[in-house]
Symmetry: C2
Subunit: 116 residues, 2 copies
């Protein structure tokens, strides 16, 4: 019955799904269109089981969809889930543009917004 609980639920969250380089590659490839597992595996140089597992994660967070096509199973992109990530990072846009003054500059005074 769990003794201390380590690590908070991670997977099944888009941010986590795209934290894996290979999964990002899969998504990038799928922009060109649907593809069967084997083909993806081949193009990315990874084994089939490995590819399937990554696809499973992507499917669980809703970034890809699959549909059967005879013997094969075609995976297609469903990028809608990436939008929240884009927007979240977008919330920092003014910070990477405004060269974050007070943070790097030679600010001599404003120690911190500690009211007291």
């Amino acid at each position: 019955m769990m003794a201390a609980m380590a690590r908070a639920a991670t997977t099944s969250d888009v941010f986590n799904a795209i934290a894996e380089p290979q999964r990002r590659e899969i998504l990038a490839l799928l922009r060109a269109g649907e593809r069967p597992v084997t083909e993806l595996a081949q193009e990315l140089g990874m084994t089939q089981p490995r590819t399937s597992k990554h696809l499973r994660v992507l499917r669980e967070v809703g970034l890809v969809r699959d549909r059967k096509a005879g013997k094969q199973r075609l995976y297609g992109l469903d990028a809608r889930g990436l939008r929240p990530v884009h927007e979240w990072t977008g919330g920092f846009e003014r910070f990477w543009n405004e060269s974050f003054d007070r943070a790097s500059a030679s600010s001599p005074a404003p120690i911190s917004p500690r009211t007291r």
Copy 2:
């Protein structure tokens, strides 16, 4: 000396750093300005060690900077590292807008965009 190598190098990569919800919270908070560790911990309701550890990860990937301020150590945002993430997801913008036709629609034919 490692026998089979499991899991590819993860940390020290921005995508991974922001995969942690709490780290995202820290970044969001820092948009309001620099803050000492204890204050962050307090505002986020987490222990100090935990906060320090997350800050360390963020620092290692360059998303935050720290500077000493007397007894304290102020952490400030350096969002430049988020830009790549924003751009990467931006590469999928047309896909979440164009309601990815062929993927969900009742496509009866185009099995796959294999050129040949």
